[in-house]
Symmetry: C2
Subunit: 390 residues, 2 copies
């Protein structure tokens, strides 16, 4: 087990009807004015917008609004948000939405205190020392951004999709009502499930030894996601299922299940090139990249992959034939993705090999010569993985 | 799943050689003077004391000392600690030890701001609003008190052993070096293992439904403890095993694995009467009380107990004979306790039935008429459980 620090001071307020606590949570932080940041307006259709406003008003919290966050959130809107916060003397950014809205809000909150926030996304060695406080009202069980310390932003002009992280990006509070996910379209749920499953696997596939407790906790979350995910589509207002999947997404990415180990994250970085180039949903891209990554790297630690096959997918196999187990597990994972409506090949979404080199090149823009920890991958490896995902 | 709040802002600094970060963590909190609180002096024998002092001195942190915490920590020493903190203008209580030292430190930290800290232990409806900041240097993988929000104290004159809880009892930082457990005697490890296993079971045995993710996470921790615990005794300087068991104890009680469910805690309360009366180690008492409690309550939710039998102990059974599975699981648990050197019956430690009524009576002193949530137990039930533990 590696040495580690764990610090996550986000206050999670989880359950039915918890939106009414938004205002009080702002007051507890001595907040007077918030930037209400959200996406395309679905929160106005499902009634959440009114609940948020009502809670703010009940606590005499002022607010200004910035809507329009898209999936793969854009730098331009972040810059707009920073300008509003400065002009309006905002003292908390309140993200109402899913991972994209939260990531955009994190960039705004940190950008408030630096000259050019994009520099910190381009160069991971630059340290963000301060941020406006952040509050979250979560609407999508997915990214885990509600309690995580990182954010991903895309610059539209260059198709660069980059991440930044700092403890100052951890939300002060996260308001999580599973009922706010009832009105989500099926594909959003599926993308979210793929994202949370990937967050767990990025931790699980590690070369660090002596982390059996972490392994088992991560397996517990994966097994439960495999069980629940197919059920949530046919039973859209089942509170229990929505609560379990929402909590699963948070635990997948708040850090505590994966302490003490090297994490990988190559699949995420490779996927960012796909969604940066083609503007496909991140969760869809992960369902395509991850199986290809697994096929490419599994020989670098077969016991870890056979453990995954055996414990997560229940594959029974002759122990002198680990290849069979791993192959069956990858098939089972692809079938799982398909069962929730996702594609698992680039050809399924009409992406051909034209840009493989461009994406592999950009993967290393200002980023050294390898990505990933489980197996350090160079540009040629990235192209090979794109080819396995064809 | 129940509505819940989760908030745990303790900064965990885990790994080899992390004692050197104590001073900086005090500085980060603007601390000038600490009360160094510890037990019987084992930290002077194993070299930890010098490391703590060196780190404090390196950061120019002043300190006063209060040693002498015993297992089942006493109110009198708490009062002494409060007086020292007031007299010496201490601004952080630094607990260097296991659960008893930490619990004593929590009582001192909260007692600094109230007239009589014991009132808050006697009456759980009284709310502690403030505390001195608390830092922990953990030496025993056991109680989980290093990140928990509660504390248990005993008043010697009355044998009353009572608990209190508040978010202000959560340590600001916990310094956890697995090597500091190398010199522990075997029985201390065994008591610690029993305590952490019990902390998980108090959460696991719940009547709340729709908490499958929590179930699986708790099972993961239990399964790993069952695997590791017997190994740590024969391999005392195996860093990996010590790291895993230390982290298991923290995760057993920091709260996050058991969110969204009613927790039980009857076994803990019943055990507190035993250790309050006879001054036996808490972990030993739990190994005696818990199997008896299970025998007494299992019929109130057989599916939960058969799930425990099947998933945690791997009991295979005909599904029309759940009684067999549960009986085998309880036997397996008792064998586990015995395998690590613990007793599982009161008669094994020469406790007879003389005080069963006295203890059952005192269990309800200022505490209503029932304890526990899985099955609400009255005085007669408590006596029955003592009898099952004979």
């Amino acid at each position: 087990m590696n040495n580690f620090n764990y610090y996550n001071p986000c206050k999670i307020v989880f359950g039915d009807d918890v939106e009414k606590e938004i205002g009080q949570n702002c007051l507890d932080l001595n907040v007077k004015k918030v930037l209400l940041h959200y996406g395309g307006g679905s929160i106005k259709k499902n009634g959440l917008y009114e609940k948020v406003i009502a809670s703010l008003k009940a606590s005499n919290i002022q607010y200004v609004e910035l809507a329009g966050v898209k999936p793969n959130p854009r730098l331009e809107l972040v810059r707009e948000g920073i300008a509003i916060c400065k002009k309006e003397n905002v003292d908390l950014v309140l993200a109402v939405g899913g991972g994209s809205v939260i990531d955009s809000a994190k960039a705004i909150a940190c950008g408030f205190y630096v000259e050019d926030i994009w520099e910190y996304y381009l160069d991971s060695s630059k340290v963000l020392e301060k941020a406006l406080p952040l509050g979250v009202v979560l609407t999508i069980p997915a990214a885990g951004s509600e309690t995580s310390s990182s954010s991903v932003i895309t610059e539209e002009a260059t198709n660069l999709k980059r991440s930044a992280g700092t403890k100052h990006m951890i939300a002060k509070f996260a308001i999580m009502n599973p009922k706010n996910t009832y009105s989500l379209p099926d594909n959003q749920i599926a993308y979210g499930v793929s994202d949370m499953f990937a967050h767990i696997m990025e931790r699980y596939f590690s070369q660090t030894t002596g982390v059996d407790l972490g392994d088992r906790l991560l397996e517990a979350n994966m097994k439960n996601i495999l069980r629940i995910a197919p059920l949530v589509f046919n039973d859209k207002e089942n509170y229990t299922l929505r609560a379990e999947i929402m909590w699963a997404g948070t635990l997948a990415h708040n850090g505590i299940l994966g302490m003490g180990r090297d994490e990988d994250w190559a699949s995420h970085l490779i996927e960012h090139e796909l969604s940066g180039e083609y503007d496909i949903p991140h969760g869809l891209g992960l369902a395509i990249v991850f199986p290809a990554w697994m096929k490419y790297v599994c020989k670098d630690n077969m016991p870890r992959f056979t453990q995954f096959a055996s414990r997560v997918f229940g594959i029974e196999y002759a122990h002198d034939n680990g290849e069979y187990a791993v192959s069956e597990a990858i098939k089972a994972m692809e079938n799982f993705y398909k069962s929730i409506g996702l594609h698992t090949r680039l050809s399924d979404i009409s992406i051909n090999a034209d840009k493989f080199d461009v994406m592999a090149e950009r993967l290393f823009f200002k980023r050294g010569t390898t990505v990933g920890q489980f197996k350090k991958l160079n540009k040629a490896d990235a192209v090979n993985i794109f080819n396995l995902a064809k």
